[in-house]
Amino acid sequence: MVDAGHHPKINVLTYSELEEVRGFVGNFKVKVKKKPRFVIPEKCNGCGLCVDVCPIEVPNEFDEGTTTRKAIYVPFAQAVPLVYTIDMDACIECFKCIEACGKLEAIDFSQKEEIIELDIGTIIVATGYDIYDPTPIKQYGYGRYPNVLTALELERLLDESGPTMGKLYRPSDMKAPGKVAFIQCVGSRDDIHEYCSGFCCMYTIKNSLILREKYPDLDISIYYMDIRTPSKGYEEFYRRAREEGIKFIQGKPSEIAQDPNNHNLFIYSEDLAKGKAIRDEVDIVILSTAAEPRPDSRTLGSKLGVTSGPSGFYMESHPKLKPIDTPTEGVFIAGSSQGPKDIPYSVAQGSAASSRASRILSSPEWEIEPLIAFVDADKCRNVRKKCGICETRCPYGAIIAPEGKPAYVIGAKCHGCGTCVADCPEGAITQLHYTDVQIVAQIHAILREKPEEKILVFTCHWCSFGAADTAGNSHLKYPPDNRIIKVMCSGRLDRKFIYEAFRIGAGMVLASGCHPQDCHYITGQHHAERRLKAVPKILERAGISPERFSVKWMSASEGQTFSKVMKESSETLKSIGIERIKEENEKAKPELEKRIKTFREDPDVAKILLADEKVDIEA
């Protein structure tokens, strides 16, 4: 901590939050909101006279609310920087602190929120985790029974500089406890959080050993389901606890009851080794509560193009091979923001993140993929009449449509989602590597034989294609009647692709992409959703059963969802039957033909369409 505070190359900006990120790898423009402390750091000498006169007391979050602090405070004695802060939510502006500060004049109530703009090459997200509040688990009585604590509250009580100078008392009567019990997996591995929080077994063992050292006669039990000690030296640590006489009772307690007279607690559990229900009377119960994602992690993630998995923690690019990378090039994740981690693991990830970042920072220039869009100036209608739809579709300001002139793309700003391409009314925009002709060629290749028996699936690169990969990695079986065509973003999905697929006989078409909040291109999914909403109606009018086209949003981690959707689609396809599909397609052909008319204006695409018709004639 102190090292970071003194490092000549590290600028510590505390009491500050990320406001906005623009730009791309190597060239991020970042706005940081610096909240006012109302104390001038250069003038404050940390004497604390202001604290003595402040009349306001509020719960101290650093001590998990076990103590109070003043409205003017430093969170803890070793804080870096050691500068006081006025909590304006609590302050009553009596200005006694100004008086106490006297000639130092370090207090300044006129401070305003400040926006700092930074040019940044790479960003590392290390926002950590939150502790689950166990109040909703009513049967454990947290919040109602004074002697039920969370592990972090105990952590503060055991700290020599904490509220009790490191001594453990029963909060109900400040008496020394004779018997304490820990309960593991509170809010982990259950219907609240499916995952294992990972480090609770170890910190519980640690706290039990600290208690043993301080109180050799204290009776200590740990109620657990499994003890997980996978890292170096951990199992040995567990053995040490057993040697020290800590009792390990396998069983997840069903309930804690309280004696209303003396606030003693009764734990109702099964002792699995005995196979019997037991009741244990103790002085203090400590709940080993789950780690959970920060409540604002999605908001922050969407600013950075970092998505969250089903657990709410940030998603890495690849679970094994790219654990630090995110879908946004130049943005990395480290520590518990990606999932619960202990200290050694977090430190290792910090080093890994700095190494990943320095790959970019150490090069004078960085190569980015050229999957960008460009405008055919001859086709752009903005010359003839005001259009500019493309400009409204781009979340990066990479495409500009000046009045009376053709639109143009700023290559370095374009992220290559293809949303402008799909929404251009004149078909004047092309996305490199995902051109109309390439995609139409794929549609025709896949549907060349027995098209009515196939489900054509359009996916985006980041999420739904990733979901299909996850289904594969997890070997989640589904029927083999689907075929995937990948684009970078669902925003690229032109309705004409869907009409063309049905025109040449597809059994079903499924369009997919990320969840709305996860779009790698900020708004691409939103435009896809809007654009595709009308498709079922249009298809129905043409004679195609609406259930033959569907739209599904899923994240890269949702292999289960992908597999389920494929199973359901396959069942739908079978229930409709090939004969009906053929009939419907035949009936819909003229209408679909009209809808893909502009494809014929592209000579390359027209060639594919023509080639296919020739095959039809031959058949």
């Binding site: 505390t14 009491y15 804080a79 490191g166 970042a357 002709v437 995609i439 990733g466």
Partner: protein, 197 residues
């Protein structure tokens, strides 16, 4: 355009991951009949050195101008094969992948025949796209060699210290009044019982 095309298709066994369900040799045979394909070969592990040598040698021997690698997910090995064809003198964007592992053999082990047809369709799709691929040049952008670390807990502090030691200007932002995060709240840490601050 069509007459100039010289496409090579390479079907990976991935050990038994692909070959355990479908026959890559047969798949290559069928792929060789697709228009524009001049050669189709199979290999035990396309991503391995010998696999890449096979691709590179074939590019030279058959004067290939498009390559289709039918193997695992492009999210895994697209960079590998792009570099591979580049080293053989081809523009990296003239390579297209067909995912016949994650999207096929791993999820359809119970339907080997249908899985074969699906794999062939995926190759046919990749070949079709390959016909219309164009060489692309990567965009070079300048790099500001400054880093931003969001969150000053143990992971963020470690990152910032390493980056700072490497000599990069690093901004470490923290929403609380002090750095330290959760770690600062802990008295001692496992398994060595040392102090956390």
């Amino acid at each position: 355009m069509e007459e100039d095309l010289r496409i090579g298709v390479f079907v990976c066994h991935c050990g038994s991951n692909i070959a355990g369900v479908i026959d890559p040799k047969k798949l290559a045979e069928r792929a060789s009949e697709l228009p524009g394909v001049v050669v189709a070969k199979d290999h035990g592990y396309a991503c391995s050195d010998p696999g890449q040598v096979l691709i590179k040698d074939s590019i030279k021997e058959y004067n290939l101008n498009r390559v289709v690698v039918s193997a695992c997910s492009p999210r895994l090995h697209e960079p590998t094969f792009r570099v591979c064809v580049y080293e053989a003198g081809l523009n990296p964007y003239l390579m297209e992948m067909a995912n016949i592992r994650e999207h096929c053999t791993w999820v359809h082990p119970d339907y080997p025949e249908e899985a074969f047809e699906k794999a062939f369709d995926l190759i046919r799709s990749a070949v079709a796209k390959a016909r219309y691929l164009a060489p692309l040049e990567t965009i070079k952008v300048p790099v500001t060699n400054k880093a931003l670390v969001i969150g000053a807990g143990i992971a963020g502090i470690s990152t910032a210290l390493d980056l700072g030691d490497m000599g990069y200007e690093t901004y470490l932002i923290e929403k609380e009044p002090s750095i330290g995060g959760r770690m600062a709240q802990l008295d001692k840490t496992f398994p060595t019982m040392d102090c956390s601050i």
